[in-house]
Amino acid sequence: MIITKSISTFGKYLMLMHRVFARPESIKMFFRQFMRELYKLGVDSIPIVLLISFFIGAVICIQMKLNIESAWMPKFVVGYATREILILEFSSSMMCLILSGKVGSNITSEIGTMRVTQQIDALEIMGVNSANFLIFPKVTALIFMIPILVIFSIAAGIAGSYAIGMFTGIMTPEDLTTGLQYEFSQWYIWCSIIKSLFFAFIISSVASFYGYNVEGGSIEVGKASTNSVVSCSALILFADIVLTQLLMQ
């Protein structure tokens, strides 16, 4: 029963995506929607990304100092470990998990409300491909913005680790700089960005799918938002394993 339902849901998702990835009826309207989504999904997320990344960067630095420090370890290892954690996992995977809560629930509730207030029916009656008009700009805008958010997150995390080092004196900026630069591989940044592109697609498309298929009223919109965040999180974690294995081998 669960398997049948899952296959059926996946089939519906693929059918929706088939409608989403069509040529927009009006390029001008698509561009207008794209710019709106760019601002709403991307620019509006910058403050939360900076805030969380700054504090997590600081906390990672403290934890590394407390747990790794020993007479056998060079001092710069703290900076090295902080950098690796931020670039390889936190700024891509964990940040996208957080964004699935903020952006995903926003997308689901917006499209779900449009469904229950018949705004999607109004689009269909006009002969507009509602899936393409509503979802395509969200998917493209988030995919466009996510690398920028990842880079902002890495930068804010590193700034957080420097700040904690300077204000508490647990380590010198020189040691931290040495650690951050030690055996730096540019590929890791690319890995982080590549992973985030997949996660952006998961967040925008899955959240849109849940919103687009809402039936009923406001309670169902709330339930759909919750289900969307749960599904996005699970899929991001699963995709993270697969992508890490593929990219880091």
Partner: protein, 250 residues
């Protein structure tokens, strides 16, 4: 003109529409009336193509939309305007942007011409002063008028209204009814209105079909409706004491 021939629609074991046939002419306000659950909304959805009937034909000026290709289906939808029960204005856009929307999507005219057309439509529904407001700033009646302006922006040949008076006071309902009726005659379009409103029935019902249990129980116009001897129709229309007295006086 829209003709429906032997439309049947089932949901599982439930037979919602049973071989419903009728003709909706141009320039007339056609009403579909009936109790809740009689199949009015299902019939309207079958007519506009939001639902696929199990059997029957829906002919738009002789063209069966059920046999249309995807492209033809999109094209016919551009000839339709629809007023939804709760107006269904896009809340991320201003009133003017809502009316401009179908023009922006499908019209090849210049921006100035589109703007002029949108403003003309808003003036037609007496809403020119509210063009820069957002939908939530409008009253229920104003939202319905804005939705009518959006529905007529592309000069449709067919106008559909799903319970246009729901949630409105009697005076505002009359304004909306008159607007729908005037637009229908002025532009000679085929209008189908789904309603339970007694004022609409006696005010603008050029052609009325009464649905009961998925069948057309009675068909006529606003002049016949008060004198009908159909028990089910009378039970439905004259359910209140006031209306029963009106019927007796008539």
């Amino acid at each position: 003109m829209i003709e429906i021939k032997d439309i049947s629609k089932n949901f599982g074991e439930q037979h919602v529409l049973k071989k419903v046939s009728s003709t909706f002419e141009n320039g007339k306000t056609n009403l579909i009336i009936g109790q809740s659950g009689a199949g009015k909304t299902v019939l309207l959805k079958c007519i506009v193509g939001l639902l696929q009937p199990d059997k029957g034909k829906v002919l738009y000026d002789g063209r069966n939309i059920l046999k249309f290709s995807k492209k033809e289906n999109l094209m016919i939808r551009r000839e339709m305007g629809m007023l939804f029960q709760n107006a269904a204005l896009f809340d991320s856009m201003s009133v003017l942007e809502n009316v401009m929307f179908p023009l922006e999507m499908f019209s090849d005219k210049s921006y100035e011409e589109k703007l002029k057309r949108a403003q003309f439509c808003l003036e037609r529904v007496n809403l020119a002063e509210a063009q820069h407001k957002s939908p939530e700033e409008l009253s229920g009646g104003m939202q319905k008028r804005a939705a009518i302006a959006r529905a007529i922006a592309l000069e449709p040949k067919y106008l559909f209204c799903d319970e246009p008076n729901s949630g409105l006071d009697p005076k505002t309902s009359l304004i909306i009814d008159e607007l729908i009726h005037d637009i229908t005659t002025e532009y000679n379009i085929t209008t189908i209105v789904n309603t339970h409103d007694m004022n609409s029935v006696v005010g603008i019902g050029d052609h009325i079909i009464f649905l009961a249990d998925g069948n057309i129980e009675w068909e006529g116009n606003k002049d016949d409706v008060l004198y009908s001897h159909n028990k089910q129709l009378n039970d439905f229309l004259f359910s209140s004491d006031l209306l029963r007295k009106v019927k007796e006086m008539a």
